[in-house]
Amino acid sequence: MVEAFSSLYEGILIAITPENILYCFIGCMVGMLVGVLPGIGPSEATALLIPLSYGLDSVTAIIMLCGIYYGGMYGGTITSVLINTPGEAASVITCLDGYPLAMQGRAGVALKVAAVGSFVGGISSTFGLALLGPAVADFALSFGPSELFALLVFGMSTVIGLMGKSLIRGLIAVCIGLSLALVGMDPISGTIRYGFGIRELVSGLDVVTLSMGLFGLSEILVGMENLSVAGKATAINSSKLLPEEVRPTVMSIIRGSFLGFFMGLIPGTSSAVPALISYSMEKNLSKHPEKFGTGVPEGVAGPETANNSYVGGAMIPLFTLGIPCSPTIAILMGAFMMHGMTPGPTLFITNPDVIWGTIASMFVGNIILLILNLPLAGMWAKLADVPSKLLYPVVLIVAMMGAYTVDNSVFGIVVMLISGVIGYVLKKLDIPLAPTILVFVLADMMEQNLLQSLKINSGIGGLFKSTTALVLLIASVVVITFSLIAELKNKKSALLTHDE
């Protein structure tokens, strides 16, 4: 522990040289920018900037590339809150309460709690990385196919809490997500399923294109109906939390920090999973679960904290075992190798300056991002005042380019258009869209892990042999039961007051 602190001190000395601060700043800014732009996510931006980093010192290069990664997590929030369009799967959840807040003229609140939450999540998981690093790496490895499958089932079961007013409509949303996820090559044997002979479908549908269609384009279509009333936020524009909102928001940030960190450790998850579980946890712990989805700050703070905290956790398997936990981390791993280092335990011995410099820079970067974001939150919130007749077409063309970028083909735009029209119809019928996209993200991983687990254990036994898996499966059943009871109760009371 003491050793960690002295190493961290050395690292801070490296991180606060003017050059490193400058590149950390550049990385964070680029990250935020790509977070705002759909289609180009942190992994694409990191890959794009790797060549630019060759001329730099290896520490400086890694610091900049890491900045893109966590900077992107900050940026993704903005579009979710302001235009109900998640830039990546991790921010789908943020739409649920962020956008209603913006509609009430409280976009500033949403962006600020997200910025503070991200900061706390980022800092605390960096501490976790520095202090717990190697010790918790083994925990990560205990997640094999069976445990991962159980975790994904747990994630899936929490989706029920997002289903909205009617269970059957939620179920339809889930089934659409599952069916869409089946398109493309199957993860185990490589059979092309539901490809309809279209070559672009071989590698499956892209989550960013889908979510831009289902969320973004459908929102734009609703708005285009009547531009003079569309998306008009009420003019309160306050960016302060109400006194009674402070406690739940703070608590959600604390819980999100832990949750995100531990999820980051587990190889094979994505940052959407901690965000989803955090939201559902906050809803279940809340005194007023029925208000979730109508604009409660803790519904934004928890998931945003969790997805930033995920970053620090995800670095641990990379630094200690050389395992890339997520696509962006994998590209980061490539960057290490390009600079002549192999991520893994020996890196702590051969290049301690790089490891500790990078870890320390994450503190610096998060501070930079907080300083940037608090004043910017107000500025971004003003964007909600841009008349929708101007804003919507602009968002549309940016989203279309984003969809194009995913595959570099107009096919992406066609997929976005179709999913946009479907999303529009579903929205009109009051079918929630968040479950569709989240299930879509989880389903692929679920199938692969289930099939692996079945094969390793020659049957379904593996799911019950492992304590972790069993606990997670039981927890899923509990969550489903409770959510169902809660939904049914709500529905009853809603029926009594609403219908005849």
Binding site: R169, D186, Y194, M224, L429
Partner: protein, 159 residues
């Protein structure tokens, strides 16, 4: 009650229509899942997941259709816009389609200016709509093409 309610389509049950469509898609999925082996020589086959997923979807679809017919009724008229509003939505969809069809020939800038012009013209005077369309397209072009070197389709003159 306006005269628009006379259009019989407006009385159709939108929920039931979507439910039936959804169920038929799921049935198609189910039938097609038999093309993929349930088990193969590698163990569990690629047919297992689709089989169960589509079954679940069929059940959900049927229940939803029934609920839509007997309980939560969404008629087309109440659910979807009509008149000018419907026209606005259709214009947007059509404009995107046109963009997709012409972008390879005309290049990004021309297609984008056209798309944005069609959308802006509905709320701005002609000159303003054109100006905004050109400015926005140019900025988007600069960010994606020059900033991130995305291979955006261009015409023979490079835009």
């Amino acid at each position: 009650m306006t005269n628009q309610n006379n259009n019989p389509i407006r009385k159709w049950n939108a929920g039931a229509i979507v439910g039936v469509l959804f169920t038929s898609c799921s049935v198609y999925y189910f039938v097609k899942s038999f093309e993929y082996p349930y088990r193969n020589r590698f163990g569990v086959g690629p047919g297992l997941f689709p089989r169960w997923v589509s079954l679940l979807a069929i059940v959900a679809g049927v229940v939803y259709t029934l609920v839509s017919i007997f309980k939560d009724k969404f008629t087309v008229g109440d659910t979807f816009p009509h008149g000018k509003e419907l026209l606005n939505v259709l214009t947007t969809i059509l404009a995107i389609l046109v963009f997709v069809l012409i972008v390879k020939q005309t290049g990004f800038l021309v297609a984008s200016v056209l798309l944005l012009f069609v959308l802006f013209i509905r709320s701005y005077p002609v000159w303003k709509a054109l100006l905004y369309a050109i400015i926005v397209s140019a900025i988007v072009f600069a960010i994606f093409k020059i900033g991130f070197s995305v291979p955006i389709p261009v015409n023979r003159w490079g835009f």
